[in-house]
């Protein structure tokens, strides 16, 4: 069995060597090398993640927490080691604060469902206007069940969270505040530590959607001081089908389980069933074992890289991408703060003149450029910006200058065709 060391030695920054570990990026589509600028939708996976999952299926496949045999013991210890590893990675107070889910969506649903008994009619829930639908709809359902009231936190003209309005809304003593750390549609970043501190002062429970932050920023949940922090494995170079619900232990312990059944119980009889302890209580059924172990490999991969250098590399690329887009002309960027170069992470949202984002997307696709064109699962944000949709180019750890150049070159061709 591969042992997972919590903090592997960091190698010096060698970007081509990092990119080289992502087999999917080596392909060509038609006459063009694949230019993958859709990492915000899902990231590509390094060889180590693929190999680890393969190895699990070839050598260690067994159900966890169940059998007395060796294979099950191996699978269980690998699975539980990842819980510890995730705990270290985001600096949770203890591993029991890490719940494995199927992704951000499920994590938020579990919290929204689990809080039902704690909310009452007319309780207020504040939601970031820039939120992904996954951080809106579960709260709407919670509001339907409890009679709670949802209030969107408005954005400023350049799509940043409106801090003045936020302060005012907090005076209404919301029961819960749901924020995104980094917006998936625009790449805008919330000053999360301050926002959470203010919400806490107002007595609110807090959830942070970190789906777009986890691959780019160092996350310390104790410093952020939120009650819940959620993210998906597949956006951080790990597999699909696994996500994390971090919660302060007491808050997790107070959640009503959304799923019940095997694994989550202590005793079952037809008279009375007693639930087990957190984390198992919130992990009913057979979990995504291979995916959890794959996620562990993704974290090991990330921890083996010099994150400062990666962050600097990504920031340079973002600045280059924004500059190149603007120098094309006829391009509108969205969600750019006064100091654009420091304020967006991962994603750049744009439209080409008045052209439909889908036309732009189809023509970029002809040139093997993968970007996302649409409403980005953030329809309230799009309507706030008065847009039917937009295109989004998003970068990852493997993205290089050639990708940006290929993209810009392709966009010049699109412009020639459309304008």
């Amino acid at each position: 069995m591969k042992s997972i060391s919590p903090l592997p030695l960091q190698a010096p920054f060698d970007h081509p060597a990092i990119r080289d570990q992502f087999p999917a990026l080596k392909q060509t589509l038609g006459d063009h090398p694949l230019c993958y600028l859709d990492t915000a939708a899902t990231s590509q996976k390094p060889q180590a993640v693929i190999d680890t999952m393969n190895e699990y299926y070839q050598l260690n496949n067994a159900n966890v927490h169940r059998a007395a045999h060796q294979l099950s013991a191996r699978a269980t210890s690998q699975y539980e080691a990842v819980r510890q590893q995730v705990g270290h990675f985001i600096n949770a107070a203890k591993p029991q604060e890490i719940i494995f889910t199927h992704g951000t969506t499920e994590s938020i649903n579990m919290v929204a469902y689990g809080l039902t008994a704690q909310l009452q009619a007319n309780d207020i829930i504040l939601i970031d206007t820039a939120a992904h639908h996954a951080n809106i709809v579960p709260w709407q359902e919670l509001a339907k069940r409890t009679g709670a009231i949802i209030k969107p936190i408005p954005l400023t003209a350049n799509a940043q969270l409106d801090l003045t309005a936020y302060e005012q809304l907090l005076q209404s003593k919301p029961k819960l505040v749901a924020l995104c750390h980094v917006s998936n549609a625009l790449g805008t970043v919330n000053p999360i530590n301050d926002l959470i501190a203010q919400a806490k002062n107002a007595g609110a429970l807090t959830l942070v959607d970190g789906a777009q932050a986890i691959a780019h920023l160092d996350i310390d949940v104790q410093r952020i001081d939120c009650d819940f922090y959620v993210f998906s494995g597949h956006k951080m170079y790990g597999p699909t089908g696994v996500g994390i619900l971090y919660g302060r232990f007491g808050q997790l312990d107070a959640l009503t389980p959304m799923l019940t059944g095997g694994e989550m119980i202590k005793t079952v009889s037809f008279d009375r069933t007693e639930y087990g302890e957190v984390p198992n209580r919130l992990e009913a059924g057979t979990p995504a074992i291979a995916e959890v172990i794959g996620l562990g490999a993704a974290i090991t991969f990330l921890q083996g890289l010099p994150r400062q250098d990666i962050a600097a590399h990504e920031q340079q690329l973002m600045a280059y991408l924004q500059q190149q887009l603007l120098s094309l002309g006829d391009i509108t960027l969205y969600g750019i703060a006064d100091n654009p170069l420091q304020n967006n992470i991962g994603s750049v949202a744009f439209n080409l003149a008045n052209e439909h984002h889908q036309d732009v997307g189809i023509l970029l696709d002809q040139q093997a450029v993968a970007v996302r064109c649409g409403h980005h699962c953030a329809m309230p944000l799009m309507s706030d910006l008065n847009l039917a949709g937009c295109c989004r180019a998003s970068i990852g750890i493997y993205t290089n200058k050639q990708d940006i150049d290929q993209f810009i070159h392709a966009l010049i061709t699109v412009k020639e065709l459309l304008l």
């Binding site: 439909h356 889908q358 036309d359």
Partner: protein, 153 residues
Amino acid sequence: MTQISATNTPESQLFISLPAELSTAVTQIEQAKNWQEKYRHIMLLGKQLPTLADEFKQADAQVKGCESQAWLYHHQHNGQHFYLADSDARIVKGLIAILLVATQGKTTEQISQFEVTQYFDTLGLSGQLSPSRTNGLNALAEAIKRHAKESVT
């Protein structure tokens, strides 16, 4: 007029045969030297399709599965089927026009026998027809066939 549930539907005289030039334009798409030329012709073709007045851009007529918006109306006359369609995206509108060139004024039987996949293959556009695409073309093709089939009296 068949089962178009929109409260406000275009008058029947708007459903007309398409000008013959459109068939020529489809041939140009087929023979295009490169993808740029292909898509340029697709957009030109789309331009030749009549536009739907805003009042007809209704939710009831909207084709689902499309990232852009697309609307489709159907009218049957003397055993022939006629369509009116539009989209707010230019390439999608061109792709719709390609579909209409093959189906406008055709009989129920001709439409039921129309091989959409093969047609788009010949044009070198098979990728665009996949149901996994968000251009809605597959849904449009299905709606065209469904309208013809369901209107049989």
